[in-house]
Protein backbone atom coordinates (compact mmCIF):
# COMPACT_ATOMS: atom_id res chain seq x y z
CA UNK A 1 0.00 0.00 0.00
CA UNK A 2 1.62 3.18 -1.24
CA UNK A 3 2.46 5.58 1.59
CA UNK A 4 1.65 9.31 1.84
CA UNK A 5 4.33 10.02 4.42
CA UNK A 6 6.78 8.02 6.48
CA UNK A 7 7.13 8.32 10.22
CA UNK A 8 10.50 8.75 11.88
CA UNK A 9 10.69 5.04 12.62
CA UNK A 10 9.60 4.14 9.11
CA UNK A 11 12.29 6.42 7.72
CA UNK A 12 14.79 4.65 9.92
CA UNK A 13 13.55 1.27 8.69
CA UNK A 14 13.70 2.46 5.11
CA UNK A 15 17.37 3.34 5.60
CA UNK A 16 18.00 -0.10 7.13
CA UNK A 17 16.41 -1.58 4.01
CA UNK A 18 18.68 0.60 1.88
CA UNK A 19 21.68 -0.60 3.87
CA UNK A 20 20.72 -4.23 3.32
CA UNK A 21 20.25 -3.72 -0.41
CA UNK A 22 23.63 -2.05 -0.77
CA UNK A 23 25.34 -4.79 1.23
CA UNK A 24 23.66 -7.33 -1.04
CA UNK A 25 24.89 -5.42 -4.10
CA UNK A 26 28.56 -5.50 -3.01
CA UNK A 27 29.71 -7.71 -5.91
CA UNK A 28 27.98 -5.44 -8.47
CA UNK A 29 29.57 -2.33 -6.96
CA UNK A 30 32.95 -4.05 -6.75
CA UNK A 31 32.84 -4.95 -10.40
CA UNK A 32 31.80 -1.45 -11.43
CA UNK A 33 34.73 0.07 -9.51
CA UNK A 34 37.16 -2.59 -10.75
CA UNK A 35 36.29 -1.66 -14.32
CA UNK A 36 36.80 2.07 -13.84
CA UNK A 37 38.36 2.66 -10.43
CA UNK A 38 40.38 0.79 -7.85
CA UNK A 39 37.79 -1.85 -7.09
CA UNK A 40 37.00 -0.95 -3.50
CA UNK A 41 33.64 0.77 -3.82
CA UNK A 42 31.70 -2.41 -3.01
CA UNK A 43 33.59 -3.19 0.19
CA UNK A 44 33.60 0.50 1.10
CA UNK A 45 29.82 0.82 0.80
CA UNK A 46 29.37 -2.49 2.60
CA UNK A 47 31.52 -1.20 5.46
CA UNK A 48 29.54 2.05 5.53
CA UNK A 49 26.19 0.35 5.46
CA UNK A 50 27.13 -2.01 8.26
CA UNK A 51 27.99 1.07 10.30
CA UNK A 52 24.64 2.58 9.29
CA UNK A 53 22.78 -0.48 10.52
CA UNK A 54 24.61 -0.36 13.79
CA UNK A 55 23.76 3.33 14.19
CA UNK A 56 20.06 2.87 13.35
CA UNK A 57 18.90 -0.52 14.56
CA UNK A 58 16.85 -0.24 17.73
CA UNK A 59 17.51 3.52 17.99
CA UNK A 60 14.94 6.31 18.27
CA UNK A 61 15.44 9.68 16.54
CA UNK A 62 13.88 13.10 17.19
CA UNK A 63 13.25 13.81 13.46
CA UNK A 64 13.51 12.24 10.04
CA UNK A 65 16.33 14.63 9.24
CA UNK A 66 18.29 13.28 12.20
CA UNK A 67 17.88 9.76 10.82
CA UNK A 68 19.56 10.84 7.60
CA UNK A 69 22.22 12.79 9.50
CA UNK A 70 23.04 9.67 11.53
CA UNK A 71 23.33 7.74 8.29
CA UNK A 72 25.71 10.36 6.92
CA UNK A 73 27.80 10.39 10.07
CA UNK A 74 28.05 6.61 10.13
CA UNK A 75 29.14 6.49 6.50
CA UNK A 76 31.55 9.37 6.74
CA UNK A 77 33.32 8.05 9.80
CA UNK A 78 33.55 4.42 8.76
CA UNK A 79 34.13 4.33 5.03
CA UNK A 80 36.86 6.72 4.10
CA UNK A 81 37.64 7.01 0.40
CA UNK A 82 35.97 9.44 -1.94
CA UNK A 83 32.59 7.82 -1.43
CA UNK A 84 32.76 8.05 2.38
CA UNK A 85 33.05 11.79 2.03
CA UNK A 86 30.50 12.25 -0.75
CA UNK A 87 27.85 9.82 0.45
CA UNK A 88 28.42 11.02 4.00
CA UNK A 89 27.89 14.58 2.79
CA UNK A 90 24.77 13.62 0.82
CA UNK A 91 23.04 12.30 3.92
CA UNK A 92 24.40 14.92 6.30
CA UNK A 93 23.59 17.93 4.11
CA UNK A 94 20.27 16.51 2.93
CA UNK A 95 19.30 15.53 6.47
CA UNK A 96 20.33 18.87 7.94
CA UNK A 97 17.91 20.63 5.55
CA UNK A 98 14.97 18.73 7.08
CA UNK A 99 16.35 18.28 10.54
CA UNK A 100 13.17 19.38 12.31
CA UNK A 101 10.74 17.40 10.13
CA UNK A 102 8.79 14.77 12.05
CA UNK A 103 7.47 13.03 8.96
CA UNK A 104 8.96 12.32 5.57
CA UNK A 105 6.52 13.50 2.93
CA UNK A 106 6.98 14.44 -0.70
CA UNK A 107 8.28 17.91 0.17
CA UNK A 108 10.82 16.59 2.65
CA UNK A 109 12.30 13.92 0.43
CA UNK A 110 12.57 16.42 -2.44
CA UNK A 111 14.35 18.90 -0.17
CA UNK A 112 16.60 16.11 1.11
CA UNK A 113 17.77 15.23 -2.40
CA UNK A 114 18.10 18.84 -3.54
CA UNK A 115 20.18 20.00 -0.58
CA UNK A 116 22.10 16.74 -0.40
CA UNK A 117 23.08 17.12 -4.04
CA UNK A 118 24.19 20.68 -3.51
CA UNK A 119 26.27 19.61 -0.54
CA UNK A 120 27.96 16.90 -2.53
CA UNK A 121 28.71 19.19 -5.45
CA UNK A 122 30.18 21.93 -3.34
CA UNK A 123 32.20 19.48 -1.24
CA UNK A 124 33.53 17.35 -4.10
CA UNK A 125 33.62 19.84 -6.95
CA UNK A 126 32.28 17.33 -9.45
CA UNK A 127 30.18 18.75 -12.27
CA UNK A 128 27.50 16.92 -14.25
CA UNK A 129 29.20 14.87 -16.95
CA UNK A 130 32.30 14.07 -14.86
CA UNK A 131 30.99 10.50 -14.50
CA UNK A 132 30.46 10.46 -10.75
CA UNK A 133 27.55 9.70 -8.47
CA UNK A 134 26.50 13.33 -9.15
CA UNK A 135 25.33 12.15 -12.58
CA UNK A 136 22.74 9.95 -10.91
CA UNK A 137 22.09 12.26 -7.96
CA UNK A 138 21.40 15.50 -9.80
CA UNK A 139 18.83 14.00 -12.24
CA UNK A 140 17.24 12.26 -9.24
CA UNK A 141 16.92 15.54 -7.34
CA UNK A 142 15.64 17.37 -10.42
CA UNK A 143 13.09 14.65 -11.22
CA UNK A 144 11.85 14.90 -7.64
CA UNK A 145 11.37 18.65 -7.89
CA UNK A 146 9.73 18.46 -11.31
CA UNK A 147 7.29 15.74 -10.32
CA UNK A 148 5.49 17.99 -7.84
CA UNK A 149 4.31 14.82 -6.18
CA UNK A 150 1.81 14.81 -3.35
CA UNK A 151 2.96 11.65 -1.59
CA UNK A 152 6.30 10.25 -0.56
CA UNK A 153 5.67 7.17 -2.69
CA UNK A 154 5.10 9.24 -5.82
CA UNK A 155 8.09 11.44 -5.06
CA UNK A 156 10.48 8.54 -4.45
CA UNK A 157 9.22 6.87 -7.63
CA UNK A 158 10.08 9.96 -9.67
CA UNK A 159 13.44 10.30 -7.90
CA UNK A 160 14.31 6.65 -8.53
CA UNK A 161 13.46 7.05 -12.20
CA UNK A 162 15.72 10.09 -12.43
CA UNK A 163 18.55 8.23 -10.67
CA UNK A 164 18.20 5.23 -12.95
CA UNK A 165 18.25 7.38 -16.08
CA UNK A 166 21.24 9.29 -14.78
CA UNK A 167 23.12 6.11 -13.97
CA UNK A 168 22.41 4.81 -17.49
CA UNK A 169 23.53 8.11 -19.02
CA UNK A 170 26.81 7.88 -17.07
CA UNK A 171 27.76 4.97 -19.30
CA UNK A 172 28.41 7.41 -22.12
CA UNK A 173 30.58 9.70 -20.02
CA UNK A 174 34.31 9.86 -19.61
CA UNK A 175 35.57 9.55 -16.06
CA UNK A 176 37.75 12.32 -14.65
CA UNK A 177 37.32 12.38 -10.86
CA UNK A 178 38.55 10.32 -7.96
CA UNK A 179 40.49 7.15 -8.48
CA UNK A 180 38.56 6.56 -11.69
CA UNK A 181 40.80 5.21 -14.40
CA UNK A 182 41.02 8.49 -16.19
CA UNK A 183 42.12 7.50 -19.66
CA UNK A 184 39.17 8.56 -21.80
CA UNK A 185 37.71 5.87 -23.99
CA UNK A 186 38.33 3.09 -21.49
CA UNK A 187 35.61 4.36 -19.22
CA UNK A 188 32.96 4.45 -21.95
CA UNK A 189 30.15 1.90 -21.91
CA UNK A 190 30.24 1.31 -18.17
CA UNK A 191 28.25 3.05 -15.45
CA UNK A 192 30.04 4.89 -12.63
CA UNK A 193 30.16 2.84 -9.43
CA UNK A 194 28.91 5.68 -7.23
CA UNK A 195 26.05 6.30 -9.66
CA UNK A 196 25.09 2.65 -9.36
CA UNK A 197 24.99 3.07 -5.58
CA UNK A 198 22.76 6.13 -5.90
CA UNK A 199 20.36 4.27 -8.17
CA UNK A 200 20.14 1.37 -5.71
CA UNK A 201 19.52 3.76 -2.81
CA UNK A 202 16.77 5.58 -4.70
CA UNK A 203 15.12 2.38 -5.94
CA UNK A 204 15.09 0.91 -2.44
CA UNK A 205 13.46 4.06 -1.05
CA UNK A 206 10.83 3.84 -3.79
CA UNK A 207 10.10 0.19 -3.06
CA UNK A 208 9.89 0.86 0.66
CA UNK A 209 7.51 3.78 0.21
CA UNK A 210 5.39 1.82 -2.25
CA UNK A 211 5.05 -1.22 -0.06
Amino acid sequence: MAKETLSINETRDMMIAVANKIIEAEPILTDADRALGDGDHGVGMERGMNAVKEALEGEEFPSVGKVFMAVGMAMMSSMGGASGAVFGTLFRSGGKAIKDAETLGAAEIVTFYKEGTEGVMSRGGAKPGDKTMVDALLPAAEAGEKAGAATVSEATAAIAEGAEAGKEASKDMIATMGRAKTLGEKSLGKADAGAVSVSIIAATMRDFAAA
Binding site: P27, D38, D40, S77, G80, A82, G84, A85, G178
Partner: protein, 343 residues
Protein backbone atom coordinates in the same frame (compact mmCIF):
# COMPACT_ATOMS: atom_id res chain seq x y z
CA UNK B 1 45.95 -15.92 -5.03
CA UNK B 2 46.72 -17.32 -1.58
CA UNK B 3 46.74 -14.49 0.94
CA UNK B 4 48.03 -14.91 4.45
CA UNK B 5 45.32 -13.04 6.35
CA UNK B 6 42.59 -13.67 8.90
CA UNK B 7 39.29 -11.83 8.42
CA UNK B 8 39.54 -10.22 4.95
CA UNK B 9 37.45 -7.27 6.13
CA UNK B 10 39.78 -6.65 9.05
CA UNK B 11 43.16 -6.49 7.33
CA UNK B 12 43.67 -2.74 7.71
CA UNK B 13 43.24 -2.87 11.49
CA UNK B 14 45.37 -5.98 11.90
CA UNK B 15 48.22 -4.71 9.79
CA UNK B 16 48.29 -1.50 11.76
CA UNK B 17 48.54 -3.48 14.98
CA UNK B 18 51.43 -5.37 13.44
CA UNK B 19 53.06 -2.15 12.39
CA UNK B 20 52.89 -0.79 15.94
CA UNK B 21 54.43 -4.07 17.11
CA UNK B 22 57.18 -3.71 14.51
CA UNK B 23 58.04 -0.31 15.99
CA UNK B 24 58.45 -2.05 19.32
CA UNK B 25 57.72 1.05 21.40
CA UNK B 26 58.75 3.86 19.05
CA UNK B 27 55.17 4.33 17.87
CA UNK B 28 51.73 3.75 19.29
CA UNK B 29 48.25 3.40 17.94
CA UNK B 30 45.83 6.29 18.49
CA UNK B 31 42.06 6.59 18.04
CA UNK B 32 40.35 4.41 15.49
CA UNK B 33 43.23 3.82 13.12
CA UNK B 34 46.21 6.12 13.40
CA UNK B 35 49.82 5.55 14.30
CA UNK B 36 51.95 8.23 15.96
CA UNK B 37 55.40 8.46 17.42
CA UNK B 38 55.70 8.11 21.16
CA UNK B 39 58.33 10.82 21.59
CA UNK B 40 57.23 13.93 19.67
CA UNK B 41 58.90 16.81 21.52
CA UNK B 42 56.97 19.82 22.72
CA UNK B 43 57.07 22.74 20.34
CA UNK B 44 57.81 20.61 17.29
CA UNK B 45 56.05 21.48 14.04
CA UNK B 46 54.28 18.21 13.34
CA UNK B 47 54.18 16.26 10.11
CA UNK B 48 51.18 14.04 9.36
CA UNK B 49 50.94 11.69 6.42
CA UNK B 50 48.32 9.14 5.51
CA UNK B 51 46.20 7.45 2.93
CA UNK B 52 44.67 4.13 2.11
CA UNK B 53 46.10 0.83 3.30
CA UNK B 54 47.20 -1.96 1.00
CA UNK B 55 50.25 -0.08 -0.29
CA UNK B 56 52.61 -1.11 2.50
CA UNK B 57 55.21 -0.14 3.58
CA UNK B 58 53.75 3.31 2.74
CA UNK B 59 51.93 5.36 4.01
CA UNK B 60 51.85 4.51 7.70
CA UNK B 61 55.29 2.91 7.51
CA UNK B 62 56.72 6.36 6.89
CA UNK B 63 56.22 7.34 10.50
CA UNK B 64 59.53 7.17 12.30
CA UNK B 65 62.71 8.79 13.50
CA UNK B 66 63.37 11.97 11.49
CA UNK B 67 60.36 11.13 9.35
CA UNK B 68 56.62 11.70 9.81
CA UNK B 69 55.20 12.12 13.32
CA UNK B 70 52.03 10.27 12.53
CA UNK B 71 49.82 8.74 9.88
CA UNK B 72 46.07 8.55 9.44
CA UNK B 73 45.30 5.18 7.93
CA UNK B 74 42.37 4.31 5.73
CA UNK B 75 40.99 0.93 4.84
CA UNK B 76 42.38 -0.93 1.81
CA UNK B 77 42.78 1.60 -1.05
CA UNK B 78 40.48 4.03 0.78
CA UNK B 79 41.40 7.41 2.21
CA UNK B 80 41.11 7.64 6.01
CA UNK B 81 37.78 9.09 7.20
CA UNK B 82 37.79 12.64 8.64
CA UNK B 83 37.50 11.49 12.25
CA UNK B 84 40.64 9.40 11.90
CA UNK B 85 42.47 12.33 10.33
CA UNK B 86 41.33 14.47 13.23
CA UNK B 87 42.40 11.96 15.86
CA UNK B 88 45.86 11.73 14.31
CA UNK B 89 46.09 15.50 14.07
CA UNK B 90 45.25 15.95 17.74
CA UNK B 91 47.78 13.29 18.71
CA UNK B 92 50.74 14.81 16.85
CA UNK B 93 50.06 18.49 17.48
CA UNK B 94 52.52 20.09 19.87
CA UNK B 95 51.11 23.59 19.62
CA UNK B 96 53.08 24.60 16.56
CA UNK B 97 50.61 23.29 13.99
CA UNK B 98 50.44 20.25 11.74
CA UNK B 99 51.44 19.85 8.12
CA UNK B 100 49.34 17.36 6.14
CA UNK B 101 51.47 15.82 3.41
CA UNK B 102 49.80 13.19 1.24
CA UNK B 103 49.17 12.03 -2.31
CA UNK B 104 46.72 13.91 -4.48
CA UNK B 105 43.66 11.65 -4.74
CA UNK B 106 40.10 12.95 -4.65
CA UNK B 107 39.17 10.73 -1.70
CA UNK B 108 42.18 11.77 0.33
CA UNK B 109 41.66 15.46 -0.36
CA UNK B 110 37.98 15.24 0.58
CA UNK B 111 38.64 13.41 3.83
CA UNK B 112 41.75 15.29 4.92
CA UNK B 113 39.96 18.57 4.22
CA UNK B 114 37.07 17.44 6.40
CA UNK B 115 39.60 16.38 9.03
CA UNK B 116 41.23 19.81 8.79
CA UNK B 117 37.84 21.41 9.44
CA UNK B 118 37.40 19.29 12.57
CA UNK B 119 40.93 20.25 13.68
CA UNK B 120 40.25 23.89 13.02
CA UNK B 121 37.23 23.62 15.31
CA UNK B 122 39.71 22.63 18.03
CA UNK B 123 42.05 25.50 17.14
CA UNK B 124 44.76 23.31 15.69
CA UNK B 125 46.66 25.09 12.93
CA UNK B 126 46.67 22.83 9.84
CA UNK B 127 48.33 23.35 6.49
CA UNK B 128 48.16 20.97 3.50
CA UNK B 129 50.75 20.18 0.84
CA UNK B 130 49.72 17.66 -1.82
CA UNK B 131 52.17 15.30 -3.48
CA UNK B 132 51.62 15.04 -7.25
CA UNK B 133 54.72 13.48 -8.73
CA UNK B 134 53.11 11.27 -11.39
CA UNK B 135 53.91 13.15 -14.61
CA UNK B 136 51.78 10.80 -16.72
CA UNK B 137 48.53 11.70 -14.99
CA UNK B 138 48.17 15.27 -16.32
CA UNK B 139 50.17 17.83 -18.32
CA UNK B 140 52.53 20.24 -16.50
CA UNK B 141 49.97 23.01 -16.84
CA UNK B 142 47.51 21.00 -14.74
CA UNK B 143 49.72 19.70 -11.99
CA UNK B 144 46.84 19.98 -9.54
CA UNK B 145 45.27 17.01 -11.36
CA UNK B 146 48.31 14.79 -11.00
CA UNK B 147 48.34 11.73 -8.76
CA UNK B 148 50.88 11.13 -6.03
CA UNK B 149 52.83 7.91 -6.52
CA UNK B 150 56.28 6.67 -5.46
CA UNK B 151 57.76 10.17 -5.21
CA UNK B 152 56.14 10.47 -1.84
CA UNK B 153 58.96 8.41 -0.30
CA UNK B 154 61.79 10.87 -1.02
CA UNK B 155 59.41 13.77 -0.35
CA UNK B 156 58.38 12.51 3.09
CA UNK B 157 62.00 11.63 3.92
CA UNK B 158 63.11 15.17 3.07
CA UNK B 159 60.21 16.91 4.78
CA UNK B 160 60.51 14.65 7.81
CA UNK B 161 64.09 15.80 8.18
CA UNK B 162 63.04 19.42 7.65
CA UNK B 163 60.41 19.07 10.36
CA UNK B 164 63.11 18.32 12.95
CA UNK B 165 64.43 21.86 12.71
CA UNK B 166 61.57 23.91 11.20
CA UNK B 167 60.69 26.79 13.51
CA UNK B 168 57.25 27.40 12.08
CA UNK B 169 54.54 25.73 10.04
CA UNK B 170 55.26 28.27 7.29
CA UNK B 171 58.84 27.15 7.12
CA UNK B 172 57.89 23.48 6.94
CA UNK B 173 55.24 24.15 4.32
CA UNK B 174 57.82 25.91 2.17
CA UNK B 175 60.25 23.00 2.45
CA UNK B 176 57.48 20.56 1.55
CA UNK B 177 56.42 22.59 -1.48
CA UNK B 178 59.97 22.64 -2.71
CA UNK B 179 60.44 18.89 -2.24
CA UNK B 180 57.20 18.22 -4.10
CA UNK B 181 58.03 20.62 -6.93
CA UNK B 182 61.43 18.99 -7.45
CA UNK B 183 60.12 15.41 -7.49
CA UNK B 184 58.79 13.74 -10.63
CA UNK B 185 57.93 10.10 -11.30
CA UNK B 186 56.90 7.77 -14.09
CA UNK B 187 55.48 4.34 -13.43
CA UNK B 188 54.42 1.31 -15.40
CA UNK B 189 52.38 -1.72 -14.54
CA UNK B 190 52.69 -5.23 -15.92
CA UNK B 191 50.04 -7.09 -13.91
CA UNK B 192 47.45 -6.29 -11.23
CA UNK B 193 47.40 -6.74 -7.48
CA UNK B 194 44.31 -8.07 -5.74
CA UNK B 195 41.76 -6.71 -3.31
CA UNK B 196 42.10 -8.67 -0.06
CA UNK B 197 38.38 -8.50 0.76
CA UNK B 198 37.24 -9.89 -2.58
CA UNK B 199 40.31 -11.71 -3.90
CA UNK B 200 39.69 -10.06 -7.25
CA UNK B 201 42.45 -8.50 -9.34
CA UNK B 202 42.51 -4.71 -9.20
CA UNK B 203 42.34 -4.42 -13.00
CA UNK B 204 42.87 -6.35 -16.20
CA UNK B 205 45.82 -5.97 -18.54
CA UNK B 206 46.65 -7.96 -21.65
CA UNK B 207 49.44 -10.51 -21.07
CA UNK B 208 51.51 -8.92 -23.86
CA UNK B 209 51.15 -5.31 -22.75
CA UNK B 210 52.67 -2.84 -20.30
CA UNK B 211 50.66 0.11 -19.02
CA UNK B 212 53.06 3.04 -19.50
CA UNK B 213 52.30 5.71 -16.94
CA UNK B 214 49.73 3.56 -15.17
CA UNK B 215 48.93 4.59 -11.60
CA UNK B 216 49.36 2.48 -8.51
CA UNK B 217 45.72 1.39 -8.53
CA UNK B 218 45.80 0.66 -12.25
CA UNK B 219 44.75 4.12 -13.40
CA UNK B 220 45.70 4.34 -17.10
CA UNK B 221 48.68 6.35 -18.18
CA UNK B 222 49.85 7.61 -21.53
CA UNK B 223 49.82 4.39 -23.54
CA UNK B 224 49.68 0.62 -23.53
CA UNK B 225 52.84 -0.64 -25.14
CA UNK B 226 54.07 -4.14 -26.01
CA UNK B 227 56.14 -5.92 -23.36
CA UNK B 228 59.77 -4.98 -23.93
CA UNK B 229 63.24 -5.20 -22.40
CA UNK B 230 64.30 -3.54 -19.17
CA UNK B 231 66.67 -1.24 -21.06
CA UNK B 232 64.16 -0.04 -23.63
CA UNK B 233 61.48 0.53 -21.05
CA UNK B 234 63.86 2.41 -18.76
CA UNK B 235 64.81 4.67 -21.65
CA UNK B 236 61.17 5.42 -22.46
CA UNK B 237 60.28 6.10 -18.83
CA UNK B 238 63.23 8.37 -18.12
CA UNK B 239 62.52 10.28 -21.34
CA UNK B 240 59.10 11.17 -19.94
CA UNK B 241 60.66 12.53 -16.75
CA UNK B 242 63.26 14.59 -18.63
CA UNK B 243 60.50 15.93 -20.86
CA UNK B 244 58.44 16.98 -17.89
CA UNK B 245 61.29 18.95 -16.33
CA UNK B 246 61.73 20.61 -19.75
CA UNK B 247 58.11 21.45 -20.38
CA UNK B 248 57.15 22.58 -16.90
CA UNK B 249 57.71 26.32 -16.64
CA UNK B 250 57.94 26.17 -12.87
CA UNK B 251 61.24 24.24 -12.91
CA UNK B 252 64.45 24.29 -14.95
CA UNK B 253 65.20 21.48 -17.36
CA UNK B 254 67.65 18.91 -16.01
CA UNK B 255 71.11 19.90 -17.24
CA UNK B 256 74.67 18.69 -17.05
CA UNK B 257 76.02 18.97 -13.53
CA UNK B 258 72.62 18.77 -11.89
CA UNK B 259 72.28 16.34 -9.02
CA UNK B 260 69.30 14.12 -8.41
CA UNK B 261 68.08 11.59 -5.93
CA UNK B 262 67.09 8.48 -7.88
CA UNK B 263 64.37 6.19 -6.58
CA UNK B 264 63.56 2.93 -8.34
CA UNK B 265 60.41 1.41 -6.89
CA UNK B 266 58.68 -1.92 -7.29
CA UNK B 267 54.90 -2.10 -7.11
CA UNK B 268 55.10 -5.42 -5.31
CA UNK B 269 55.88 -8.60 -7.22
CA UNK B 270 58.56 -7.06 -9.42
CA UNK B 271 61.80 -8.30 -7.91
CA UNK B 272 64.82 -6.45 -6.60
CA UNK B 273 66.69 -8.21 -9.40
CA UNK B 274 64.58 -6.42 -11.99
CA UNK B 275 64.86 -3.09 -10.16
CA UNK B 276 68.65 -3.35 -10.16
CA UNK B 277 68.79 -4.24 -13.84
CA UNK B 278 66.68 -1.18 -14.65
CA UNK B 279 68.66 0.99 -12.24
CA UNK B 280 71.84 0.05 -14.12
CA UNK B 281 70.35 1.41 -17.35
CA UNK B 282 69.04 4.55 -15.63
CA UNK B 283 72.50 5.24 -14.27
CA UNK B 284 73.97 4.87 -17.79
CA UNK B 285 71.42 7.30 -19.24
CA UNK B 286 71.99 9.85 -16.47
CA UNK B 287 75.76 9.57 -16.81
CA UNK B 288 75.51 10.20 -20.53
CA UNK B 289 73.61 13.41 -19.83
CA UNK B 290 76.12 14.48 -17.23
CA UNK B 291 73.55 14.31 -14.43
CA UNK B 292 74.95 13.18 -11.10
CA UNK B 293 73.23 10.79 -8.77
CA UNK B 294 73.35 12.23 -5.27
CA UNK B 295 71.91 9.09 -3.72
CA UNK B 296 69.78 6.08 -4.57
CA UNK B 297 66.68 4.49 -3.06
CA UNK B 298 65.65 1.12 -4.45
CA UNK B 299 63.02 -1.36 -3.32
CA UNK B 300 59.35 -2.27 -3.09
CA UNK B 301 58.28 0.74 -1.03
CA UNK B 302 55.14 1.95 -2.80
CA UNK B 303 53.20 -1.16 -3.64
CA UNK B 304 49.70 -2.24 -4.51
CA UNK B 305 49.57 -5.74 -3.07
CA UNK B 306 51.27 -8.20 -5.46
CA UNK B 307 50.94 -5.88 -8.46
CA UNK B 308 53.93 -6.03 -10.78
CA UNK B 309 55.44 -2.86 -12.17
CA UNK B 310 58.17 -0.35 -11.59
CA UNK B 311 58.56 3.39 -11.25
CA UNK B 312 61.40 5.88 -11.41
CA UNK B 313 61.40 9.07 -9.36
CA UNK B 314 63.86 11.94 -9.64
CA UNK B 315 64.26 14.61 -6.98
CA UNK B 316 66.41 17.49 -8.12
CA UNK B 317 68.69 18.38 -5.24
CA UNK B 318 70.04 21.68 -3.95
CA UNK B 319 72.00 22.42 -0.79
CA UNK B 320 68.90 22.73 1.34
CA UNK B 321 67.49 19.38 0.19
CA UNK B 322 70.91 17.71 0.51
CA UNK B 323 71.05 18.83 4.11
CA UNK B 324 67.68 17.19 4.76
CA UNK B 325 68.65 14.07 2.87
CA UNK B 326 71.86 13.48 4.78
CA UNK B 327 70.07 13.13 8.11
CA UNK B 328 69.67 9.51 9.21
CA UNK B 329 66.16 8.14 9.50
CA UNK B 330 64.43 4.99 10.60
CA UNK B 331 61.01 3.55 9.87
CA UNK B 332 59.22 0.51 8.55
CA UNK B 333 59.38 1.94 5.03
CA UNK B 334 62.82 3.43 4.74
CA UNK B 335 65.88 3.71 6.95
CA UNK B 336 69.34 5.08 6.43
CA UNK B 337 72.49 6.00 8.28
CA UNK B 338 73.83 9.53 8.37
CA UNK B 339 75.22 10.76 5.04
CA UNK B 340 74.71 9.00 1.78
CA UNK B 341 76.08 6.19 -0.35
CA UNK B 342 79.18 7.38 -2.13
CA UNK B 343 79.52 10.19 0.31
Amino acid sequence: MKKLINDPLNVADELLDGLVDAYNGDCKSVGKRSIVKTDIPDGKVALLVGGGSGHEPIYHGLVGRNLADGAACGDIFAAPPPNIVFEATEAVDRGKGVLYLYGNYAGDVLNFDLGAELSDDEDIDVRTVLIWDDVCSAPPTEKDKRRGIAGLVPVVKLVGAASQTAATLDELEAAAKKAVLMTRSVGVSMSPGSIPATGKPTFELDEALIGLGMGIHGEPGVAEIPMTTADELTEKMLELIFEDFEKDEEVDALAEGDEILLFVNSLGATTMMELLIALRKAKAILTERGIKIYDVIVGPLVTCQEMSGISFSFTKMDDELKGYWDMPCQSNCYSKMEGRNGG
